[in-house]
Symmetry: C2
Subunit: 362 residues, 2 copies
């Protein structure tokens, strides 16, 4: 099948990536130019230029000192892949793959701190100091709660490459409930692909379309006007794959709003984001997540109980614990048996701790 | 040097791009995962992930339906290479390589029209209708005047992928003079690498840093607040390479302003653009273009004479020709001998044309 000539370049010692082009050349039987002269060719995805010697010769001169670089297009982490915007100092999108197994586990955020991603060139990274005092919270795109299966994944989710300036109430409220909804989907479907990111959208003003947004800190981190989430669920047993696409304003969104209000067609998001998502997905296989699964976020009372439960779990003193327990009455919430038991055991635990401490100081 | 085992994969018929990874694997003697399973690996520039099987396995799930795509990073044309912003519907940067030979020639813009770049996905391209009536002109990044050596290059320079919404006076005035200056450099230096593009920069407002800009038309083409140009000159005989970097506001800039007012350090542009330019250039070899060459743009009178000359050349009637000639007096400009001769010969040519026409109609 292959002539002896085909093997020659390897035997005579062509090394490294140059070999690729030579091999490819021989295999494809197309007339391509000497690849050693065109090392920028590793960059483009579109390879049609490989056939055009004239364009290549000129490109070689134009890109003599390298192609202007926006950094690596894809950045890989244990539990997410992202594209980073070196100009905005935020991700463009962050993609995850959730299963029941990877949203559970002992990893926690206790000793994990937000920090600049060491993989991003210093000049192009955000810093904690950009966010602090800005009035904007640090909003995870791959949420901490999706990374409980691994402390390393948890740690990486706190890199600022995974973070955008987010309205605090949105972050802890509506967006949080959307993230919980996505995790809950792993109980119904084998796997969920989620792609999240910031958007900056124009608004009408005096008959013109105007884009306006804040940039914060010395690094001038861009504050998005909106956030998006693409959610694709699938199970081997299902003929269709439920898909939900949402564009949510980066501001407080109360419990009176439903998720479906923010649902858009995938193409609408693609048009404004300039990004084609799930390019290899057969869109004929897709069904509407909100029709199939309802897209119901956690209700107000349950959400508040959930938060008080978390506060009980993390209480460090009886005084704090009892203050948290008081929030139930303030909000006219009825604790269930699980919460009552949790409160009692936590109180006993803290009493023992405080007794020990007082013995030590005596 | 190579064992027989090294050759085996080729002889047994591994085909296409998969061969690359297998070859690379064998050559580098590193343990890499089965490349057939990871076809998204053609995308990243950063190949360190190739060594991390765990990250790769997860990435394979995350990117099961392809990595979100912003289109090909580099786009190649006969006389320029560009990176396109699918979201802003403008280039990110456009790079050129000028020599004395390619700024001269018979190609002209007469029968060439602005049009959407057929290489850009329809959903992400700008259209002429976005610009028309918007109040913004279509500003070439690789200027028509840099493409005179080839009608095909001229034609490609009118693709809207090479265009940004530009203030009309800036486009025809200061920016035009900067482009002329760059072409003039080819008389002094063997070659000039030029990288041009739009920028959107924040301004201070009520103690906050705010970004504000217009988007025009149905495609929502972003109107930049500034434009940049990176100009690198070189000659084989010179020990240093003069470099000039400029950030120019996208508004009218009068003749009282000099180019040096807009000069910045390359790093300053890189920080705001999020792009590393000329990554393979040894920056120790660089000198300051404005110190070496002066960065003097064409003066007002000469620039006006130049434009009147062009108008004389393109006059289609004696009436129009004499109106243009009148502009000299209006602007108190003194024509040189070349212009007087040009006017006389053009007038004679037009008289003959008009005489012929009147004979035909008789």
């Amino acid at each position: 099948m292959f002539s002896k000539g085909f093997l020659t370049p390897f035997v005579t010692g062509v090394l490294g990536s140059a070999a690729f082009y030579t091999v490819f050349d021989k295999i494809s039987h197309k007339s391509r130019v000497d690849p050693e002269k065109f090392d920028f060719l590793k960059v483009p995805e579109d390879s049609s230029v490989l056939e055009d010697t004239k364009k290549l010769e000129q490109a070689r001169s134009i890109l003599k000192y390298g192609a202007p670089s926006q950094g690596p297009y894809l950045r890989f982490y244990e539990n997410h892949v992202l594209a980073y915007d070196q100009s905005k100092r935020t991700p463009i999108w962050v993609a995850e793959y959730l299963t029941k197994a990877n949203v559970e586990g002992p990893a926690n955020r206790k000793n994990v701190k937000f920090r600049p991603d060491p993989n991003v060139t210093v000049m192009y990274t955000a810093h904690n100091s950009d966010y602090l005092g800005s009035g904007w919270s640090r909003g995870h795109m791959s949420p901490a709660g999706d990374n409980k299966h691994s402390q390393e994944a948890m740690r990486e989710s706190f890199y600022l490459s995974n973070v955008v300036p987010q309205d605090l109430q949105n972050n802890g409220g509506f967006w949080n409930r959307l993230e919980m909804y996505c995790r809950d989907l792993t109980k119904t479907y084998q796997s969920i692909i989620i792609i999240s990111g910031p958007l900056i959208l124009p608004q009408e003003r005096n008959g013109k379309q105007i884009v306006e947004y804040e940039v914060i800190g010395k690094s001038q981190v861009s504050v998005p006007t909106h956030l998006f989430k693409v959610v694709l669920a699938e199970s081997d047993s299902m003929p269709t794959k439920p898909l939900g696409v949402f564009i949510v304003p980066n501001k407080p969104i109360g419990f009176e709003h439903s998720l479906t209000e923010f649902q858009v067609e995938l193409e609408e998001l693609e048009r404004v984001a300039g990004v084609t998502f799930l390019p290899k997905l057969d869109r004929k296989q897709v069904s509407d997540l909100c029709k199939v699964n309802g897209c119901k976020l956690m209700k107000k009372e349950k959400f508040q109980l959930y938060f008080i439960t978390r506060k009980i779990q993390s209480s460090r003193s009886i005084k704090h614990l009892d203050k948290v327990w008081g929030e139930l009455e303030e909000n006219k919430l009825q604790p269930d048996e699980y919460m009552v038991n949790l409160y009692n055991s936590k109180r006993e635990e803290l009493m023992n701790v405080e007794k020990d401490k007082s013995n030590v100081t005596k």
